[in-house]
C-alpha cells in the first residue's frame, strides 16, 4: 500500500516537474526571440534616422515646401498613396520632408510591431550643451506635430530669417558646428504577435543620428 502511494507520488512529481519546466523553457525561448527582434528593429531604426539626417542635404537651404505639400507615405514612392494620416509639410524646409520621406520609406518593415512616440517633424535651434529636450530646439511654426521622427534642420526662410540647426560642441570645440539631427522613439509591442503570452515587457527603443553638411555646403 505504501509502495503504491510512493509510486503514485513519483508519477505526480514527474508530471509536476514537466508542467513546471515546459512553460519556463518556452518563456525563455520567447524572450530570447523577442530580444533578437528588438536588436533587429533597433538596427533598422538606426539606419533609418542616419539616412534621414543625411538626405536633408539633398534639398537647398532656402527651399521651403509649398502650401498643400504632404508626405509620408510618400506619394511618389513605396506604392503607397498619401492619405489623411500623412503629414502636411507646407511651410517647413523641404529638407525636413526629404528626411521624413527617407525615414518612413526605410522603416516600413516593422510597422505593426511599433508604437511610435510622435512629435514635431521639423525643429530648429538646440544646443548640445542644453539640458532641455532636443537641446532646447523649438518646432517650426507650421511643422506637423504627429511625426514618428523629429529632425533638427537649419534653413534660411523665405523672409530671409536664418533658422539655426543643432549646435553640437563635440565637433570643432569649443565653438561647435551646426549639424542636422534626427531622433525617433518607439515601443515594441509584442501583444499582437504569438510571443505575447511569454513576453511581458514592452521595450522602448530610441535612435539618434547626426549629419554634418558636406564640404561643398559649408
Amino acid at each position: 500500500m505504501n509502495r503504491r502511494r510512493s509510486r503514485n507520488g513519483m508519477d505526480a512529481q514527474a508530471v509536476l516537474e514537466t508542467a513546471l519546466v515546459i512553460p519556463i523553457l518556452l518563456l525563455l525561448v520567447c524572450n530570447f526571440i523577442a530580444l533578437m527582434v528588438q536588436v533587429t528593429v533597433q538596427q533598422q531604426m538606426d539606419a533609418a534616422v542616419a539616412l534621414a539626417a543625411e538626405s536633408r542635404f539633398q534639398a537647398p537651404n532656402q527651399a521651403f515646401d509649398y502650401a498643400g505639400a504632404r508626405c509620408c507615405p510618400d506619394p511618389r514612392c513605396c506604392g503607397v498613396s498619401s492619405n489623411g494620416a500623412s503629414l502636411a509639410t507646407g511651410g517647413i524646409p523641404t529638407g525636413c520632408r526629404y528626411a521624413a520621406e527617407t525615414f518612413y520609406g526605410t522603416m516600413q518593415s516593422y510597422e505593426k510591431l511599433l508604437r511610435w512616440k510622435t512629435g514635431p517633424l521639423c525643429v530648429t535651434g538646440g544646443d548640445s550643451a542644453g539640458s532641455a529636450a532636443l537641446g532646447g530646439a523649438i518646432p517650426y511654426a507650421q511643422s506637423p506635430a504627429n511625426a514618428n521622427v523629429t529632425c533638427d534642420v537649419g534653413s534660411i526662410g523665405p523672409d530671409g530669417v536664418n533658422h539655426r540647426g543643432f549646435l553640437d560642441h563635440a565637433f570643432n570645440p569649443p565653438r561647435g558646428l551646426y549639424a542636422v539631427t534626427c531622433d525617433a522613439t518607439a515601443r515594441i509591442d509584442f501583444s499582437q504577435t504569438p510571443l505575447a503570452w511569454g513576453v511581458l515587457w514592452t521595450p522602448t527603443i530610441h535612435a539618434h543620428a547626426e549629419a554634418l553638411p558636406p564640404p561643398f555646403r559649408q
Binding site: I22, L25, F32, Q43
Partner: protein, 222 residues
C-alpha cells in the same frame, strides 16, 4: 512465495516495466518540444545575425546608389548589378547557405533592366518584371528558386516642372523639381533551420526576409 524463485531468474516487477514505459512516453513528449525550443533559439539568433547584415548592407547600398552612377553627371542610379557587386562580399559572409543575386533578368546575355523612373515608357516583354522591385519574397523564389535573396534598386524621378494652368499654384505639377528617391530592397528567403510545414517559408529550411532603405539623391545638371 518470493522465496521459491532461484536467484537471478526472479521476474521483474510489473511496475518497473510500467515505469520504463512512462519514462519513454515522457521522453517522447518532451524531446520534440525541447528540440523545437532549441532550434527556435538557435534560429532566432541566426535570423538576427542575417537580418542585421542585411540592414547594414541595404543602408550602405542606398548610399552607394544615391551617390550617382559612373560619373558626377550621371543621371541615373547604378543598376542592381552594380549595387549588388558592391555589397555582396559583406552580405554573403553572413547569409549562410543563401545565395545573393541582383534583381535582373537571369537569362544569359540579358542586360539588367534600367532603374524605373516616372518618365519610363510602357515596358513589354519578360524583362519587365525586373523593372520594379519584387513585391513579396515569393516573387524572388518564383524566379531564382529557394534560399535566394535579391537586391533591387528602384529610382523614382520627380516630374519635370511646367507652366501651371491658370488658378493652379506653382510648382506644377506638384513635387516637380524634387530630387529623385532611390529605394534599395533586399528580399527573398534566407536559409534557416525551420522544419517544413510550419508555414514560415514557401518550403522548409527558409525564412522570408524583406529589408529596404529609401533615400533622396542629388543629380547635377550636365
Amino acid at each position: 512465495m518470493e522465496g521459491n524463485w532461484p536467484a537471478g531468474v526472479r521476474p521483474r516487477p510489473q511496475r518497473r516495466r510500467r515505469g520504463g514505459a512512462q519514462a519513454t512516453l515522457e521522453f517522447a513528449f518532451v524531446a520534440p518540444l525541447f528540440l523545437l525550443c532549441f532550434l527556435a533559439a538557435v534560429d532566432s539568433g541566426l535570423w538576427a545575425v542575417q537580418n542585421s547584415a542585411e540592414v547594414s548592407a541595404v543602408e550602405a547600398a542606398a548610399r552607394d546608389a544615391a551617390s550617382a552612377g559612373a560619373s558626377p553627371l550621371s543621371q541615373t542610379a547604378p543598376d542592381a548589378r552594380g549595387v549588388t557587386a558592391a555589397i555582396v562580399g559583406r552580405l554573403q559572409q553572413s547569409l549562410f547557405a543563401t545565395t545573393v543575386v541582383a534583381w535582373c533578368d537571369p537569362a544569359k546575355g540579358m542586360a539588367c533592366a534600367p532603374p524605373a523612373s516616372s518618365a519610363t515608357t510602357a515596358c513589354t516583354g519578360n524583362s519587365c518584371r525586373f523593372v520594379n522591385c519584387p513585391v513579396t519574397p515569393k516573387a524572388v523564389e518564383d524566379v531564382f528558386g529557394p534560399r535566394v535573396v535579391a537586391v533591387c534598386v528602384h529610382e523614382v524621378d520627380a516630374p519635370q516642372c511646367g507652366t501651371a494652368p491658370p488658378g493652379v499654384a506653382a510648382p506644377y505639377p506638384p513635387y516637380c523639381g524634387d530630387t529623385p528617391t532611390i529605394t534599395v530592397r533586399i528580399t527573398g528567403f534566407i536559409a534557416a533551420l525551420v522544419p517544413p510545414g510550419l508555414g514560415l517559408g514557401a518550403s522548409g529550411g527558409e525564412l522570408p526576409t524583406d529589408v529596404a532603405a529609401t533615400t533622396h539623391t542629388l543629380r547635377f545638371a550636365p
